[in-house]
Point group: D2
């Protein structure tokens, strides 16, 4: 393939490939995004930045990712030839950088919560003051399967939270059909979901052999799920609100997330109708697999797949939708790459299979 | 302490101590029961039996339990001087042995499902034909905190399933107050819950790094929870039925179980009322701890404690009750010992703290 | 890429690609070989066979591998158009099948121990009677980095054991320089090394939270290491024998293997000489990484890399060589693919990075 | 038992029981020591102190230990009625506190390295300046089985490192018989060995699925093992030095430590002689179990036992001694209690079985 270049560090990419940076590559999400872009045949990863560990090579910090770039401090000068950026900062810290990048014409995938909520009120209720409310209108919610067309042309893609990704993919077919009267979501996630944070929660001797519920009745992913669910239901003409009860747990896996959605439906829904709804929604989706048996998170580990199973509980009449993803991949960084593929006109699966 | 004897194998127990056997000591539940009884100061563990591994010493099969008895085949002759038995057989296999032991006047703790359901119909719907329906009337459901008085005098104690133990302890205060209109139970358990069963589910390389839902909308613990819940609600005058949606998951811990109960209440229940209900129910219970923060299963690992936390979700109005136990201890074998203590007039906590 | 075909099941491979089967695809090693060949751009995986699970699809047994072929019984008829086979059978069971395949002109990678030892005597001492001693002369020991040239033209490649792979890569530079007077090898491996075998050793509740030495002073990989080591030392003119003390352990990881080689050298060897020896041996090797800090097995997880670190213990004068691989990848199945690449004239790294 | 008191917090202990404090109870070792002393029938745990987390209750920090004391700052005033202290500080930080406690007549178990080495030179070579060299002569090395008599009357007991505990118990019978010519020790330990330290080494997502060698050829436990080994060999008349090669590894277990000692003997030692040596050394030891099969660390988890197995490798002539302990129990805190029992004239096993 004569059109493929190899830079000094050994990266292989096509000539004229979009040049990308990852800002905040020292955390789990940023590091994985860098890894995926480094081995991607269509993007050139030119810089990785961090607010700590500057000067250290990323493959020293994350040996298994084998990205041999030194971590730099983000400099907004000299970004002239950069086409896109993945920003992996904490919420509130992300928005000013996203703004600065946009002002230089760079297209941004923001992994933080800063641009996920359309409603400024709800953002400020959960996260405090928004640093750049002026940009909210420009952002597209980056759950690929729900907003593919708008993502294609977006300047800012607000990459979804991992819990909303799994939850909304599971609920969308029912929501669009106007079938959701009430929903309880019970989510379980591996410790990587806490990020490269060092405390009693993430220490092996405390996270191991533990099943730990957290943020009971107060998880910040709740409004994100509700806002998107309202959009989906509105399309079916539903105007009443559905309050989502969302509860998260840490379990001793590294990467993996399972979401159980317990849906009270507006009318009885049998297994065959359920199967048809899911099939119709996802039969052409490259990364959503509707399966005939309960999915384990191992089935989707280190992939961009969401694996899904649904069943009616004949006993209670409720519908159970199970949705499994890798929280760092489809839940975060590989979905970011899926979105970048769309934004730059590449096949959506490029670099992801 | 001159009244304490030591037998040849080094066991310490009081003279005249009730003599106990464990039938089915090769499985996880039976082995732990043997371990707890071996080190118990008031019982004399005289025999452990198994349907496999006969002749092998139990401390070879389970080195950490250090019970130096050889595994024997159960012989119904020569049980004359036995006072009590713990039967750790699979359902349907247990009932005939329980019957034979009862006919010899031996008091039995049955760890199987055979005598947990009062309704023969429901038993047969979930488990098939019952081998000894004539004994159903004699059995007491062995969730200690709910049926303490009847257990004291019982000939057969049907030790509860681990999921019903955690679930019912969590739901009882609300059920007795007639506050439950609807309930979804999402349960997570360690791999020991599958027992000493060797298959793709329990292999380290498949159970590890996995979160696996199983028996979707068809777990056999559902009717057990429903039957007991109906009893509790009936005490509050509730006569309508509440269908329980129960969903179980395996996660990569060894011993540990967390149950999340999502309750739609019959009227709004605030956190303070909730706190009072739980405190009133459990303030004098030696093994139920109502705590002020979400409990992890590590907190109760290898103990007979159930640790509980409840909160109202102001958003949806539902009540969340979290209940953590060790599935093999309070969920099975240490609750069996707690019941044996009651049956023989010993302090309920003896040998368990 | 117009030259790439897609078969009915979605596999992508070049036209005229060698057609390969995996015999014994139900075990961990065979399944991974099938996965790697399925996604390989230059081979066409046409059949997977098993002695159990016939009729089941491989992606039901191993969902994460996504190989949608049904498991068949191996039929030696109808193999006319097959170019190569990976045989993943237990020792003694493999040799007859390898022979039958060879008689049909098929080139074979044998993952068993049947053709690893050149000495029939030593084979029979450790494994019993050899089913096909006539084929021993035809087999090449498949540690790629040591026998690359002979592998290229081989009819039978005896893929090495995982422990010998890591050990010999670590020891080869010292052995070739005639520096090894004595060696102790302490190896640690994840539970996948035990294979899809269901017993007390592999059950999560027994393998978890355990560090377990096994086969003390009697592991079958010892003679394999010794025979190859003798070959390497002979090249340096050493004719005396070095008895290898090899000790293996299971630890609670899934895939990963670390080997510590403690070498008493024939003369003092300092860190700089050590560094030069390793660099000279491996600087052009695509899959051996000599690194400046102790490698963890995570660094090479799910890769064909061997990561190596060596240091002289100034205190005792001994040399420590640490060698980390993924036991199922470089230790078994990806090394098989590396060898297949060589045998069919493809770049050695094809399908492996 | 009318002589048993219960204090306000529910602790049960005998009247007139020695009053003990734990200084540094926020770390893993101190917290476990507090747990063991709290439930000990003969000691009264009166105070737990910490340099952080002051004011928080220990059972909030370590829920499973259920010690309901608030963490205090250590005050050297008001220690008049204290009989003993367990000091769980880092090396160098411990010595001044140990000194201050001794000056108040308090008997001390020091868990740090400060008083383990008799040689000041060697201490300073590995740890830097010693804060209280004047106290070195007063300290007794607290490996109970080796120094029982001197521990009984000691003012300062230097509790051994966990690696030296397992290693020296394994090597002592051979050393005393003058049989050790050379030894390589390969040690594997769970993550709790790193303590309540928060970094890349202890994060679940990095420690999990990893086998990690560390401090290659430079672990501080080496001189501790060498010094004690020299004492044991000297008793057999051996005056030459044996340089110990010691190498440590972290594996993904919480608590557990396995040490493999590879011994080149001064003359051939067969399995029967080996068995007799170990039996003679340990047949009356309550906490050392010489067993007939390789011990896993699960066998001794959460116990004060050391389980040991030895075998001659007929191939190389070397002797392999395997020694398994729980690094936090026998390796640290329960050995501290074993020593306290001796110091106060209680049965050595009190509170430990």
């Amino acid at each position: 393939m004569s059109c493929v270049h190899s830079d000094a560090a050994g990266q292989m990419f096509a000539a004229g490939a979009p040049r990308v940076i990852v800002a905040g590559a020292t955390g789990f999400a940023g590091a994985l995004a860098a890894h995926l872009l480094w081995r991607h045949p269509r993007f050139e990863l030119v810089t990785v930045t961090g607010r700590s560990e500057v000067g250290r090579r990323l493959d020293q910090l994350y040996p298994r990712y084998r990205v041999p770039l030194a971590i730099e401090q983000l400099s907004l000068d000299g970004l002239d030839r950069i086409d896109a950026a993945v920003v992996a900062y904490p919420h509130a810290a992300a928005a000013p950088t996203v703004g600065a990048l946009r002002e230089r014409g760079i297209r941004v995938i923001d992994l933080s919560a800063d641009f996920r909520l359309a409603s400024l009120d709800i953002y400020e209720q959960w996260y405090g003051e928004h640093p750049r409310p002026d940009l909210l209108g420009e952002a597209v919610y980056g759950l690929t399967e729900l907003h593919r067309e708008r993502i294609t042309g977006a300047g800012i893609v607000a990459n979804p939270g991992c819990y909303p990704t799994a939850s909304l993919l599971g609920l969308a077919p029912l929501a669009r059909a106007g079938l959701i009267a009430d929903v309880v979501i019970d989510a379980k996630q591996g410790v990587s979901g806490a990020g490269r944070v060092f405390d009693d929660t993430t220490h092996f001797s405390m996270a191991g052999e533990n099943i730990l519920p957290y943020k009971v009745a107060e998880h910040r992913h709740t409004p994100e799920i509700e806002e998107q669910l309202a959009l989906l239901r509105a399309a079916a003409g539903a105007i009443d609100e559905v309050a989502v009860l969302f509860q998260a747990h840490l379990v001793p896996v590294d990467q993996g997330e399972l979401v159980d959605c317990y849906v009270t439906t507006t009318r009885p829904v049998g297994d065959s109708e359920l199967g048809e709804l899911l099939a119709a929604a996802y039969e052409h989706e490259p990364f959503v697999e509707v399966v005939g048996a309960p999915p384990g998170t191992r089935d989707v580990s280190e992939t961009n797949f969401c694996r899904m199973f649904a069943k009616t509980d004949s006993h209670s009449g409720k519908v159970i939708v199970l949705s499994a993803i890798d929280n760092l991949w489809k839940g975060t960084s590989s979905q970011a790459v899926q979105n970048l593929n769309l934004m730059f006109g590449f096949p959506e699966t490029e670099g992801l299979t």
